[in-house]
């Protein structure tokens, strides 16, 4: 399933770039992150509670930075494994200056395999959309704070 969109952010491109390319920063923006550790510059791991199934599924997500062209493009892949579900997500975003602010074009290709993938098909899309909105909302808040300070 591929979801994409653009988001206008009230902060200079540099600010946005710095936030979304810092794993620890991003970890704070993602919902349900319970623990987080950086392996090296391009790999990090997070224990996440994904709202799949009732009460959420605990998953270990391994992130890998695939490509980055500061300050406008970056893409990463996240593979998650939890009981009943395997998640494979590739996300990318392109930043362009828009006056004072920044315009972010993003895309995410989310694949979920396993029983949950089969059972929960009809709810995956709404869940993914909602997660994305939460991340974007948090990001907007985060960068506006940064740019104010």
């Amino acid at each position: 399933m591929i979801v994409s969109g653009t988001k206008e952010l009230p902060a200079p491109r540099e600010t946005v770039w710095n936030v979304i390319n810092d794993p620890t920063e991003m970890a704070k923006l993602m919902p349900g992150v319970e623990s987080f550790e950086v392996t090296d510059a391009t790999h990090w791991t997070a224990k996440v509670k994904v709202p799949l199934g009732l009460g959420g599924l605990k998953m270990t997500m391994n992130f890998e930075k695939l490509e980055e062209r500061p300050p406008e493009f970056a893409s990463m892949r996240a593979k998650g494994q939890g009981v009943g579900a395997l998640m494979d997500m590739t996300t990318s975003f392109t930043l362009s200056e828009a006056g004072e602010g920044t315009s972010m074009a993003w895309e995410a290709d989310v694949k979920i395999a396993g029983p949950v993938g089969a059972m929960g098909q009809r709810v995956l899309q709404p869940i993914v959309n909602q997660q994305v909105q939460q991340v974007l909302g948090a990001l907007e808040e985060r960068v506006s704070v940064t740019s104010d300070s």
């Binding site: 199934g53 009943g84 899309q125």
Partner: protein
């Protein structure tokens, strides 16, 4: 079929239930279990502790509040709704819809609280209770709070009931002249909904419409409601008011229909629900 290891406890009072839910990590309330046990069988969910609400008699009551609201305990079963004289008098649509949920065995166990707390986008009651402008009473360790249907449904499988809290009752205003309608497409008779809509038309002609299965939470069809505010509820007017409703939605696709099909069904269901509601209201 085979659940993960889980701990079980059956408290005797609501207070005890709430404190149990608050004091154990990964604790979850077990109502009728007609969804939760199923999901646990698939191991798509694995709470650490099940707090069985079976003995909480006060949650099994149907009655009226001082200000005349129909109060339905969270542990009231669908079968109870179907057979309740209070419901029959105050808001018969609740019984009518409950009677089409799954089958006799499920209706004997499944509860109102379970249905709304599971908050599966295809469930019957969330859009209906949103259309009926129901309120939800949530008990926490210290206090009790009441939230509206618009605030209650937060996401797929997520509601305003946070960890350590318990939904105790759902309050529904009596129809007092209003007419209610419910329509949609199911997978087989009394099966899972592909798309549905609930509507209520007050005796003054005010319309509330809620759509199910088209988003993470039930959605109000506000634009359509406004277009109908004029009071013309003829088939033509309602059909016209529904135009563009689908286009405003981004429903999921699955084995039973594309997003486009659900957009279309949302319009069809909304129209049918409104017309049914209009035909049932007591003329002002």
């Amino acid at each position: 079929m085979l659940l993960r290891e889980v701990e079980y406890v059956r408290p005797a009072t609501v207070e005890e239930a709430v404190s149990l839910l608050g004091s154990y990590e990964g604790a979850r309330a077990l109502a009728g279990g007609q969804t939760l046990v199923n999901v646990m069988k698939a191991r798509a969910a694995a709470p650490d502790v099940l707090v069985d609400l079976a003995d909480l008699e006060e949650l099994r009551a149907i009655g009226f509040s001082a200000d005349g609201l129909l109060e339905i305990g969270a542990m009231v079963t669908y079968a109870q709704l179907v057979g309740s004289s209070e419901v029959e008098v105050a808001r018969p649509i609740l019984a009518e819809v409950a009677a089409t949920i799954a089958d006799v065995q499920v209706r004997n166990r499944g509860t109102v609280g379970g249905n709304v707390c599971v908050a599966d986008p295809t469930n019957h009651l969330p859009p209906l209770l949103l259309a009926l402008d129901a309120t939800f009473t949530i008990r926490g360790p210290e206090s009790e709070r009441t939230v509206s249907a618009d605030e209650f449904f937060v996401g797929v499988y997520m509601t305003a009931v946070s960890e350590g809290e318990l939904l105790t009752k759902v309050s529904v205003p009596p129809s007092s002249g209003a007419g209610d309608g419910f329509a949609g497409l199911t997978i087989g008779k009394h099966g899972t909904y592909v798309a549905n809509a609930a509507a209520t038309v007050s005796d003054e002609g005010g319309v509330r419409i809620a759509l199910g299965c088209v988003d993470a939470v039930p959605v109000r069809a506000s634009a359509m409601e406004e277009r109908l505010a004029g009071g013309d509820l003829s088939a033509e007017a309602v059909a016209a008011a529904a135009e563009g409703l689908g286009a405003s939605l981004d429903p999921p696709s699955d084995a039973h229909g594309s997003g486009d099909f659900r957009r279309h069904l949302a319009e069809v269901s909304a129209v049918r629900a409104v017309l049914q509601a209009a035909s049932r209201r007591k003329a002002a």
